[in-house]
C-alpha cells in the first residue's frame, strides 16, 4: 500500500515537473517565431482603444476573444460584420443604444475616442485565433465572402 511519504513525494514531484513544463511552454508560445498575437501592429491608437475598453468594463456585457459576459454580442470581427460607421455611431450615441430592446450604456464618446476603439477592434480582428473567428462570427464570414 501507498505510504504517506510516497504520497507526499507524488505531490511535490508532480507539482514541480508540471510547473516547469508550464513555464517552458509559456516561453515557447510567446517567443518571436511562435507569436501569433498580431503584436507587430500594436499602434498607440490601439493601446488607447484597449484602455477605453478596459476603463469602461465593456467585458462586463460583451465577449471579446470569447472572454467576458454573455449579455451582449461577441465583438471579435465586429468591424467586418457591421462596418466602422455603425460601430462609431453606437459608441458616440448620447442615449442608450437598443435596437432590440436590450440597452447598452450610453457612452457619448468623442470622435477620437470612438476611432481608438475601432482601431482596437480592427487589431483584434487580425489575431490568429486557431480557427475560432470563423465559428464565433459566422455572419462576419458571410459578409467577407460576398
Amino acid at each position: 500500500m501507498l505510504s504517506k511519504k510516497q504520497a507526499r513525494a507524488f505531490f511535490l514531484g508532480g507539482t514541480l515537473v508540471t510547473f516547469l513544463i508550464f513555464i517552458g511552454l509559456t516561453v515557447y508560445s510567446l517567443s518571436e517565431g511562435n507569436d501569433q498575437s498580431n503584436k507587430e501592429n500594436l499602434t498607440a491608437s490601439v493601446v488607447r482603444g484597449k484602455e477605453i475598453w478596459e476603463s469602461n468594463n465593456c467585458m462586463g456585457c460583451h465577449t471579446l476573444l470569447g472572454e467576458g459576459a454573455y449579455y451582449a454580442p461577441e465583438l471579435t470581427k465586429v468591424i467586418d460584420r457591421r462596418g466602422e460607421g455603425y460601430v462609431k455611431a453606437i459608441l458616440m450615441s448620447p442615449v442608450p443604444w437598443q435596437p432590440n430592446g436590450r440597452k447598452m450604456v450610453a457612452y457619448g464618446m468623442s470622435k477620437n475616442e470612438a476611432e481608438d476603439v475601432v482601431a482596437f477592434f480592427k487589431w483584434i480582428g487580425k489575431i490568429d485565433l486557431n480557427g475560432f473567428d470563423r465559428i464565433v462570427s459566422p455572419l462576419a464570414k458571410k459578409k467577407i465572402n460576398n
Binding site: 498575437s37 467576458g68 458571410k142
Partner: protein, 445 residues
C-alpha cells in the same frame, strides 16, 4: 472550541454571509435584466451588476477561507493565534477595500478584466491585507506545538493564492497577453491552489466528523492535491485555445484539463469512503451534510460539467457562451461555496456553545439551496446549448438568439428563488446560534 482566539473566525463568517446575500441580490438584477426588466439600467447597468456579483462571490469565499484558517490553524498547531487584535484589523481592512471596490463599480471605477475588476491602486491594498493575514497564520503555525499535513496544505494553498494574485497585476498593451496572464490568477486559483484550501478544510472536517485516523486521511489528502496540480497546472491550456496563442496549447490543454476531473472524483470518493469507515458518532449532522455535499457537488459542477466543454473540439463552439455560465455556477457553488458553509456549520456550535446540530431548518436550507442551484444550472445549460446551436451552428444573429432563449431565464429566476430561500434559512440558523463566547471553551484533552 479549544482556543480563545478561534472566536475571530466567527466575524469572518458573518461578513461572508452578508456578502453572500448581496451577491445574490445582484444576481437577481442580472436575471431580471435578461428577461427585459432592466428598470435599474441607469444606476446598475448589467456590467456593474456582473462585476459586483462575481467580485462579492470571490470575497465571501475568501473571507470564509480566512475564517476557516483562523479556526483550524490554532486547533491544528495547538497554539493561540499570535495576535487577535491584528486579525480584527485585517478583517476591517478587508471589508474597507471590498466596500470601496463595490461602490467604485457603480461609478465606472474599475478595470474591465473579468474577475479582476478591482483597480490597480486597490490591488496594492489587497496585497497588504493578505500579507497581514498570512503573517498571522504562518507565525501561529510556525510557533505551534505541531505541524500537521492538514494545516500545511491549507496554509500552502493560502500562500500560493496570494502569490498567484501578482501576475494579474502586471500591465500589458496587448489584449492577448493581458488575457494570458489573467488566467494565471483565475484558472490557477480555482483549478489549483483553491483546491488545496478546499482539501485542507475537507480533511480537517473529516478528521473531526468521522473519527477516522488522521494518518489515513492525510495520506489521501496528498494524493488528491497531487492529482490537482498534476492536471491543473498544464490544464490552464484550456483557456489558451482560441485567444491568439500557439496551437501547442490545444494538445497540452486538451489532455491535461481532461484529467482535472480526477482530482474532484478522488475528493468525492475520499469523503464518502471516510464517512463509511467512520464511527458516525458525531452529532453535528448538518456539518456532515455540507461536507459530503461539497465533495460530491464539486465533482458534478467542476469535474463533469467542466469536462463537458474542455476538449478543444467542443470548446470551439461553447467558448464564450452561456454553457460557461452553467459550469461556473455549479463549480463555484459545489466546491467553494459548500465547503465554506460546511466549516461554518461545523464551527458555529463550537464557537457559540449552542448545539443546534440537526434542526429541520438547517436541513431544509441544505436541500433548498442545492435543489435551487441544480435547477439554475439546468436553466443556464439549456439556454447555453440552444445558444450554441442557433448562433454558432446556424449563424443566427446574437440578439435574435437571445430572444429565443429568454424563457430559460424565467426558469432561472424561479430556481434562484428556491436557492435563495435555502440560503436565507441557512443565515437564520447562523443568527440563531448567537455570538461566540468564552463559555464555549472546551478542555484540550
Amino acid at each position: 472550541m479549544k482556543y480563545k482566539s478561534q472566536k475571530v473566525a466567527y466575524w469572518f463568517f458573518a461578513f461572508s454571509m452578508l456578502l453572500l446575500i448581496l451577491q445574490i441580490t445582484y444576481g437577481f438584477v442580472m436575471g431580471f435584466a435578461r428577461i427585459g426588466m432592466d428598470g435599474l439600467h441607469e444606476f446598475i447597468p448589467f456590467n456593474t451588476a456582473r462585476a459586483v456579483h462575481t467580485n462579492l462571490l470571490v470575497v465571501w469565499l475568501l473571507s470564509g477561507f480566512m475564517g476557516a484558517a483562523y479556526y483550524i490553524i490554532p486547533e491544528e498547531a495547538q497554539n493561540e493565534l499570535v495576535s487577535v487584535k491584528l486579525a480584527y484589523v485585517q478583517l476591517i481592512s478587508l471589508a474597507a477595500v471590498g466596500v470601496t471596490a463595490v461602490i467604485g463599480y457603480h461609478f465606472n471605477y474599475w478595470e474591465g478584466r473579468k474577475f479582476l475588476e478591482i483597480p490597480r491602486p486597490l490591488d496594492y491594498l489587497v496585497v497588504v491585507n493578505v500579507l497581514l493575514f498570512l503573517g498571522i497564520i504562518l507565525l501561529t503555525l510556525f510557533k505551534g506545538k505541531r505541524r500537521t499535513t492538514t494545516a500545511l496544505v491549507l496554509s500552502m494553498g493560502l500562500l500560493f493564492a496570494a502569490l498567484l494574485y501578482l501576475p494579474g497585476m502586471i500591465p500589458f498593451d496587448s489584449q492577448v497577453l493581458d488575457s494570458f496572464f489573467r488566467w494565471w490568477v483565475v484558472h490557477l486559483w480555482v483549478e489549483g491552489v483553491w483546491e488545496l484550501i478546499m482539501g485542507g478544510i475537507l480533511s480537517f472536517l473529516l478528521i473531526k466528523l468521522t473519527g477516522v485516523d488522521r494518518e489515513v486521511i492525510e495520506k489521501w489528502l496528498y494524493v488528491i492535491v497531487g492529482l490537482t496540480f498534476l492536471s491543473g497546472v498544464l490544464g490552464t491550456g484550456h483557456h489558451y485555445y482560441y485567444i491568439g496563442v500557439n496551437k501547442i496549447w490545444l494538445i497540452v490543454g486538451g489532455i491535461f484539463s481532461a484529467l482535472e476531473p480526477l482530482a474532484f472524483l478522488a475528493m468525492a470518493l475520499f469523503a464518502v469512503n471516510m464517512y463509511r469507515k467512520g464511527e458516525k458518532k458525531h452529532p453535528n449532522k448538518l456539518a456532515l451534510y455540507w461536507t459530503l455535499g461539497a465533495a460530491i457537488v464539486s465533482f458534478i459542477g467542476a469535474g463533469l460539467l467542466g469536462f463537458a466543454h474542455t476538449l478543444p473540439q467542443t470548446n470551439l463552439y461553447t467558448h464564450g457562451t452561456l454553457v460557461t455560465a452553467m459550469h461556473g455556477h455549479l463549480a463555484f457553488w459545489g466546491a467553494y461555496g459548500m465547503i465554506v458553509l460546511a466549516i461554518i456549520s461545523y464551527s458555529l456550535p463550537n464557537l457559540t456553545g449552542r448545539k443546534l446540530y440537526d434542526s429541520s431548518r438547517g436541513r431544509m436550507a441544505f436541500w433548498l439551496a442545492n435543489i435551487g442551484m441544480i435547477g439554475m444550472t439546468v436553466a443556464f445549460g439549456v439556454a447555453g446549448v440552444a445558444q450554441v446551436y442557433l448562433e454558432r451552428k446556424f449563424g443566427l444573429d446574437f440578439m435574435k438568439v437571445q430572444k429565443e432563449i429568454s424563457i430559460h431565464f424565467v426558469v432561472l429566476i424561479l430556481c434562484a428563488t428556491i436557492f435563495t430561500t435555502g440560503v436565507i434559512l441557512y443565515i437564520v440558523d447562523f443568527y440563531k446560534h448567537g455570538t461566540p463566547t468564552d463559555e464555549a471553551l472546551e478542555s484540550k484533552e
